[in-house]
Symmetry: C2
Subunit: 216 residues, 2 copies
DNA sequence: GCCAGTTTTGAACGATTGGTCGAATTAGAG
DNA sequence: CTCTAATTCGACCAATCGTTCAAAACTGGC
């Protein structure tokens, strides 16, 4: 934690609770993978700027100096979080768009795909959309570009559906795409695993809503 | 700016450009209102944790010490940003829900209301949904509560529409409400004033999408 | 049980941060 | 102009930050 702004009455949360006799910490083997996963969690919960390398180290049961053996920078950790999201997102969606199925079916699968990621990889997804401000230089531009490309794939599905007259031609594909993406991305604000619905069920409801609307 | 993490090649953006001969700065009269507005802008662009009080001072043409005459804390600034959002959001939506109009019309107006805020107050809205992590104590809880209440109002509209058989009874109002809110809130990620559409047009497209769907 | 390579420590660094405060400045009323 | 209160300055503080690095600790193969 180590919040930047501390109030008068410092709400210090007790860290390092487990200090039993011999076995000190869980101490899963340190690796770049573990660092990124833990960091994603902390970044999502406390924000990138308010998460110190100390925090990440403590969460892993390790000194912050040790992190630098596996990772170049704090920013590199953030970059790796972004990369994991893109890695699991881009390819599958591309395959859906290129598949030989109806636009309706494409849209359905695309929504399921996106909802599933937003739900299952919730921390990384949250970071992906909240902390892009902290990326700098060429990488920031690359992320922005690939994000746009991803959104464009949704747009393509809409456009295709309009061309074969399955989707209303009056709607602007870009706006519709943004609407759908917003609907799905917002999951990371309210979805908690173990809730009433599983990601597939939510995806189905979203699909139904987008396809035929809410009116009876 | 003053990023916490600096890369090897520091991409320093030139601040303090305007340094003409006599008239030094725009120097609008300093006030709590001005501080909050400027801070909202900076928080939205660079994040709360990465925005220093120095940054806010510079943006206002003032030393950071001066800020403390109008404001107690850095966190109080953040609190005030949150309050401005709630101030313009809650009351109008409540009036819409309580109005004597059809649920369809309520939903239409609610979407317009929400889209307009997300578009017009973009920076504050961005902060509202990105930086809630940095709130602590009772205020954090209050914001969470009022946020939930706001969402619940959307839910109410859906439920009402289902009861008079205008909306499909099969849909879960909560999920639909979250979907609509996500669609609208996502505006702050892509909407830029002066773009192709005005907020009212976007709201209309969203309404049409939600009401009758995308299929022809 | 020794050795080389890998991994972690722990202390230190320079920079920046949010916050404080008395002195200096400004503004307005009389 | 004068006096007072409101406002701002500018220097300062303690804490925390990301980062570095030599030394220590651990590791597996021989």
């Amino acid at each position: 934690m180590s919040e930047k702004t501390r109030l008068d009455a410092p709400p210090r949360t007790n860290r390092k609770v487990e200090k039993s006799e011999s076995t000190e910490r869980p101490r899963l083997k340190l690796s770049q993978r573990a660092i990124v996963a833990t960091a994603a969690d902390l970044f999502a919960r406390n924000g990138f700027g308010a998460t110190s390398l100390d925090d990440i180290g403590v969460a892993l049961g390790v000194t912050k100096g040790a992190l630098y053996y596996h990772v170049k920078n704090k920013e590199e950790i953030l970059k790796l979080v972004f990369m994991t999201v893109l890695t699991v997102s881009e390819e599958p969606l591309r395959r859906i768009v290129e598949a030989e199925i109806t636009p309706v079916e494409k849209l359905r699968r695309a929504i399921l795909h996106h909802v599933a990621i937003a739900a299952d990889r919730s921390p990384a997804m949250t970071v992906f959309y909240r902390e892009d401000v902290h990326l700098t230089g060429p990488f920031a531009r690359e992320i922005a570009t690939r994000k746009k490309a991803y959104e464009h794939l949704f747009e393509l599905i809409i456009t295709e559906g309009q061309q074969i007259n399955t989707f209303k031609p009056s709607l602007d594909p870009k706006i519709v795409a943004f609407g759908i993406l917003g609907m799905c991305n917002w999951l990371s604000e309210w979805y908690r695993s173990g809730g009433t619905y599983k990601p597939e069920q939510i995806a189905e409801m979203f699909s139904g809503l987008v396809e035929s609307g809410i009116e009876v």
